[in-house]
C-alpha cells in the first residue's frame, strides 16, 4: 500500500515509536503522579519527557505550559470553552475544521457570537477583514495554521500581532502544521496552541495537547482526579494537572516522546523541506493532466503538505475507491470534516474532493505512482 493520507494520521511511525509504546505498556504500572512506586515514577518521567520535547518544539517557556489531551479536537474544545463566556465575541476563518466550527456553533446557542471572516484558499484569512470584524467584546480569534483541505497557510504572525495589540486571545489549530513547520508560540503571540500527537509529531493516535500561555487559567472541560491536592472539592489551578484529569495515555505519550525525538534529530527544517518537495512534485505532475482541478495555493506559494483535487469525470469517493482497490494507494475523499472549507472552495455539492497528503517517509516514486494512477483514471483506462 502506498500511503498518502498523512493529513489524517502519519504512517508509518518511526520504529522507535513502536518500541517506546511497547516498552511503556510492558513496563509502566500505576498512574503518573498517583503512586509513589518506581513503576509509576518511570511512567511519570516518560510523560515529562514528552511534555518537555513539545515545549521545546513550540518554543514554549516551560513544560508546564503543555497540557495533554486525547486529540486536537479535545484541545480545541478545552481552549474554546475554557476562555469564552456568554456575551463574548469570537472571530474565525471560513476554512476551519468542524472541530472549531462545531464548538463555536454550540456556544452560539448559549449567548456567544461568532464572526467568520473572508478566507482565501491561496493566502488564508484576510487581515483587513479580520481587523474590521473586531468588536469591543471580541475575546478570541481562532483559526487553523494550515487548511486540512487545501493546504492554505494562514498569516499567523500578523494575526497574532493584531490580537496582542488589541488584547484579544489567539488560539491556533496546528492540526496540520505541528511537526511539519516551525511554530514559535512567543514570536507569533500565540496564547493557545492545539496540536495532534499522531500527525506531524509522528506519535500514536489518541495523543494531542494544548499549549497554554503562562498566566492564563482556563475553565476546565473535565474535572476529576488530578493526583495532587486530592483533598480539594474543586479542580486545582496547578498546571498541567488542572486540565489532565483521569489516567493518561501512558503508552501513547511514551510513543509521542519518541516521535518528537525523531523530529528533533532529523531537524524540523529538513522535514518541512522534504514534505514540500513531495507536495510540489505532486502538484507539478497533476497540473499536466487534463480534467484535473487542483485546489489551494499554486506551486511557489508557501503551503502545507496537503493537496486536494477533483476530476471532471468522476466523483471523489469513486476516485479514492479505485485508488485503494486498483492502485493500492490510500488517500481520503469527501468533506474531510470541514464543511466551511468546502463551502469556500465551492466543492460542497460535488461530494467534496480527493485529498492527497504526503509525509516524511514518502518517496518520489509514491508521488509518481499517484500521478500515474490519476492519469489512468482520467483517461478512462480504469472503470470503477
Amino acid at each position: 500500500m502506498i500511503y498518502l493520507d498523512n493529513a489524517a494520521t502519519s504512517w508509518p511511525k518511526p520504529e522507535s515509536v513502536y518500541q517506546a509504546v511497547d516498552k511503556a505498556l510492558r513496563e509502566f504500572g500505576g498512574s503518573y503522579g498517583r503512586g509513589s512506586h518506581s513503576m509509576a515514577l518511570a511512567a511519570g518521567e516518560s510523560i515529562f519527557e514528552a511534555r518537555m520535547l513539545c515545549a521545546k518544539l513550540f518554543h514554549a517557556p516551560s513544560p508546564e505550559n503543555i497540557c495533554f489531551a486525547s486529540n486536537t479536537t479535545e484541545a480545541l474544545n478545552l481552549a474554546i470553552k475554557g476562555v469564552l463566556h456568554p456575551g463574548d465575541h469570537v472571530i474565525t476563518g471560513c476554512m476551519e475544521h468542524n472541530s472549531v466550527s462545531r464548538p463555536l456553533k454550540k456556544l452560539e446557542k448559549v449567548g456567544m457570537q461568532t464572526t467568520k471572516v473572508v478566507t482565501s484558499p491561496e493566502s488564508g484569512i484576510d487581515l483587513d477583514a479580520l481587523e474590521k470584524a473586531i468588536q469591543k467584546n471580541t475575546k478570541l480569534v481562532v483559526c487553523n495554521h494550515i487548511s486540512n483541505v487545501a493546504g492554505t497557510i494562514n498569516p499567523i504572525k500578523e494575526i497574532g500581532g493584531l490580537c496582542r495589540e488589541k488584547g484579544i486571545l489567539f488560539l491556533l489549530d496546528a492540526a496540520q502544521s505541528a511537526g511539519m513547520m516551525k511554530i514559535d508560540v512567543i514570536e507569533n503571540n500565540i496564547d493557545l496552541l492545539a496540536f495532534p500527537g499522531h500527525k506531524g509529531l509522528l506519535g500514536p493516535q489518541g495523543t494531542g495537547g494544548l499549549y497554554i500561555r503562562e498566566g492564563l487559567i482556563l475553565d476546565t472541560l473535565k474535572e476529576g482526579g488530578t493526583g495532587t491536592q486530592s483533598e480539594r472539592y474543586d479542580q486545582p489551578e496547578t498546571k498541567p494537572e488542572r486540565y489532565e484529569s483521569g489516567t493518561m495515555n501512558l503508552p501513547g505519550l511514551a510513543g509521542l516522546a519518541a516521535g518528537l525525538k525523531h523530529i528533533l534529530s532529523e531537524g524540523l527544517d529538513n522535514i518541512e523541506k522534504r514534505e514540500l518537495e513531495l507536495t510540489n512534485h505532486l502538484i507539478n505532475g497533476l497540473e499536466k493532466i487534463g480534467g484535473v482541478k487542483i485546489y489551494g495555493p499554486k506551486v511557489g506559494i508557501p503551503r502545507g503538505n496537503v493537496v486536494s483535487i477533483s476530476l471532471e469525470s468522476m466523483q471523489p469517493s469513486e476516485v479514492s475507491m479505485i485508488l485503494d482497490q486498483v492502485f493500492h494507494i490510500a488517500v481520503r475523499s469527501g468533506l474531510h470534516c470541514a464543511r466551511d472549507a468546502h463551502d469556500t472552495l465551492g466543492t460542497m455539492n460535488q461530494g467534496g474532493l480527493v485529498r492527497v497528503s504526503p509525509g516524511y517517509f514518502n518517496t518520489e516514486q509514491d508521488a509518481e505512482a499517484f500521478i500515474k494512477a490519476i492519469e489512468s483514471i482520467t483517461q478512462g483506462e480504469v472503470i470503477s
Copy 2:
C-alpha cells in the same frame, strides 16, 4: 517488582494486548470512519470489535450503546454534564471518587443541587436514605459500583430498581468493577455506565467508555469531526459518533479488544473468584498483624479487590515508599483521588491509607510477600 496496584491500572496486560497494540500501530493508517481506504477500514473493524465485546460484557443490546472515551473520568464528565441542567437535583454517595464529586461541585456553581447520602464502608449507600433524598427535581443518581479506597460494593440492583421506579436516571461508575465482576446494565436498570479500559478490562491506559441506554441522547462534552454528516454545523445525533469527535485511540482500542477477548475466554466468573481469593488471602494475613487497621468490608462480606490499611506506627506515604524501595512491592498510598471516601472512613487527617489491590495475574506468593513486608515494618525491622 511485585505489582499490587491494579486498582490504578492493571499490570501486566495479557501478551495478546501488547501484540494487538503493536500490530495496530504498525498497520492501521488513516482515521476510523474517515477514509475509504483499506487501512482505515481495518482500523474501523478493530474499533467495532472492541465496541461489540464491551456490549457483550455489559449485556448491552447493541455495540452502538458503547461510546469510547479516553478514561473513566471523561466518561463520567460526559454522562454527568450530558444529562444535568440548571435546576436539576442529583444524588450521590459519600465514598465517591473525585471524578464524580468534582464535576458535581462544579455544576453546583451553575445551579445544580447535590445531595450526598449516608454510605457505609461495609455495605455502601443506605437505601432508605437514598429514597428519602429523592426530590421532585431529582434527575440523576450517580455512584460507584466498588469503592476505589475500601472495596465496598454498592447495592446497584436496588439502586437501579428504585431509580427506574421513580423515573430517575442511574449512572454507575464502574472504574473498579468492570472486568472484575458481572455487570448487567439491563438487569440492574443502569442508564449510563462509565468504565475504564485499562483496569479490569486489561487494555492500555488511554481507553475507557460510556454505555448509554437506548433512546437517551446526551448533551456533548466535545464537538468536532465525526466522519459522518460532515456537512452539518451542529453535532450529529447518531450514536456513537456524536460522542467520539476527533481521531480515536486506535492502538489503545485494538489493545482493549484483545483484553476483552482474554476476559471472555478466561471467564468473568473465574476472574472474580480468583481476585477475591487473593483479596481474602491478604485480609486474612493482615488481620493477624498487630498495629494494622483494615478498612472496608470484612472477609465473608462481598467486596472488590481493593484493601486499604493504616499502620499505627507509620504514615501511609512512608509505608508505600518502604514497600517500593526495600521490598519491591508496588502499592498506592495517600488519598486515592477520593476525598469523600477518606472523610467517610475518617482517614483524611492521617495522610490517607495504604491501598493494596491484587489482579488476576497475582499469586498467593505475592500476597504473602506483602503480608510479610507489613509484618516486618510494624515490628520495626525496617527503618525508613
